[in-house]
């Protein structure tokens, strides 16, 4: 049995050598979910990273402690990785929207379209015809994080990117664009914001709160 200085390990009664690996079925893994957080009320949601989870509700549980256990947070979104459609990546001075296939003139400049106007009746008709809301995220610079820029209504993910180009395409630089169907995003409720109330006070979770260097120097000075 493995003998450890950690009594918890000894209680497990682990054999000295690990058991031989058991062959696993393909895809015996959880899927991934992408996580976005909001640092303060009114701020845009920003991408923070992925979690593995069997379902969105579990992904939310994990994301909360994975990505918002330190520092202030007022909201969290999780979305299945597979539900995100993205453009190609381009250089830091270009626009990813320029990589989208050009549309035929008639559809690139649609006649009065409720997507760009306050046409409520047109909106209802569009939803009835199968259009849906998509959330759009921009990456402004490689190495930074995708940030929510707004919603568009579209008939498919590819269409969502085209509509986003019409609505947000003037913004530059845009190194990469993500579109996610709004219905695929699990969002924290505003009324549950209090789950983060105390997070900024948990200084003990930050290495910087432990004045180790001071103590080391004090110890050295006393023992010279």
């Amino acid at each position: 049995m493995i003998q450890s200085h950690d009594p918890r390990m000894n209680r497990l009664g682990l054999p000295d050598a690990p058991a031989p690996a058991v062959a696993k079925e393909a895809l015996d893994q959880f899927g991934t979910y992408e996580v976005f957080h909001q640092k303060k009320e009114g701020a845009p949601f920003v991408y923070v990273g992925p979690v593995h989870a069997p379902e969105a509700d579990v992904a939310f549980l994990f994301a909360k402690e994975q990505f918002s256990r330190r520092f202030a947070c007022t909201g969290l979104w999780v979305v299945p990785t597979a539900a995100i459609t993205l453009t190609d990546y381009v250089g830091d001075t270009e626009s990813a929207y320029d990589t989208l296939p050009l549309l035929a003139k008639s559809s690139a400049a649609p006649a009065p379209d409720s997507r760009y106007t306050d046409d409520t009746a047109g909106e209802e008709a569009a939803y009835a015809a199968g259009e849906e809301d998509y959330d759009i995220f921009h990456l402004k610079k490689r190495g930074k994080a995708h940030q929510h820029v707004g919603k568009v209504r579209a008939s498919s993910p590819a269409d969502a990117l085209q509509v986003a180009k019409a609505v947000f395409g003037e913004q530059r630089p845009v190194v990469n664009v993500w579109a996610a169907r709004s219905a695929d995003i699990l969002r924290s409720d505003d009324e549950d914001r209090d789950i983060w109330t105390t997070t900024p006070e948990k200084k003990y979770r930050d290495a910087i709160s432990y004045k180790v260097q001071d103590r080391i120097e004090k110890f050295k000075a006393e023992n010279q």
Partner: protein, 249 residues
């Protein structure tokens, strides 16, 4: 014992001991993300115990570290539920579910306690407990409706844990005064809210819920009667502290 001290010791000791128990999963959890989430909540519980021991200190009791690390089992007021070894994950999750529902409801009630310092602590910390309960509910619903093995394990864990969970609500001699002075709604009222709250979640699973109030509670913890598991836990938890109780950390 003074009703305030009586109530605070029970609350603080529950949080300290369960926080320490749950921290034993750190590094051993079923998957990385769950390991981090469960450890994080264990850390929250230690934080809750600190807030409550600090209130006790303000009422004239010893320093929080002294109270936490120098008493022996018979001086602890925790219920026996929290001191049981972590067992397998089915048990630890079930204990977490049963305990945290009671704790969330307790803190919600304490938010309007006549003892304002405690009410403040409760209002501040109940958001954390809301997440703890959400975590517990999500797993309970998922595993309680999953495979045959999962359902059987959760059912066995539930059957084993429920009598201990009823020990949470064991009353002390101060109970009548605690209620009449407006400190707290009392254990019977809390138990009835808890029953409603856990039943709501369990009814969404394939788990069978026995007639809970007909079960015999495992009591005694509030009076210092503990299982054989508490003293070894205390020895392990305080091992480093006791090497040099005056050390400056």
């Amino acid at each position: 014992m003074d009703p305030k001290l009586d109530l605070l010791y029970r609350l603080a000791d529950d949080q300290l001991i369960l926080g320490h128990r749950n921290s034993e999963w750190n590094g051993l959890g079923p998957i990385l993300e769950e390991d981090i989430a469960f450890s994080s909540m264990a850390q929250d519980k230690l934080g809750h115990s600190l807030a409550l021991y600090t209130l006790l200190h303000e009422l004239g009791e010893a320093e929080p570290d002294t109270v936490a690390f120098t008493r022996n089992a018979p001086q602890f007021h925790c219920c026996q539920l929290v001191e049981l070894p972590i067992g397998e994950y089915d048990f630890s999750l079930t204990r977490h579910f049963l305990f945290d529902h009671a704790e969330l409801l307790r803190f919600e009630a304490l938010a309007t306690s006549s003892y304002e310092p405690l009410a403040q602590v409760a209002r501040k910390l109940r958001g954390e407990l809301k997440y703890h309960a959400l975590h517990a509910n999500t797993w309970m619903k998922r595993l309680g409706t999953a495979t045959e093995e999962a359902i059987e394990r959760m059912q066995n864990a539930l059957n084993f844990t429920l009598p201990y969970a009823l020990g949470i609500f064991e009353k002390t001699e101060a109970e009548a005064e605690i209620i009449s002075s407006g400190l707290f709604i009392g254990e019977d009222e809390l138990r009835s809210r808890w029953l409603e709250s856990i039943t709501k979640v369990l009814s969404q699973t394939a788990l069978e819920v026995p007639d809970i109030l007909a079960l015999t509670p495992v009591a005694g913890g509030r009076y210092g009667q503990h299982t054989e598991h508490l003293q070894p836990l205390l020895d392990e938890m305080a091992e480093v502290f006791r090497l040099d109780p005056t050390a400056d950390w």
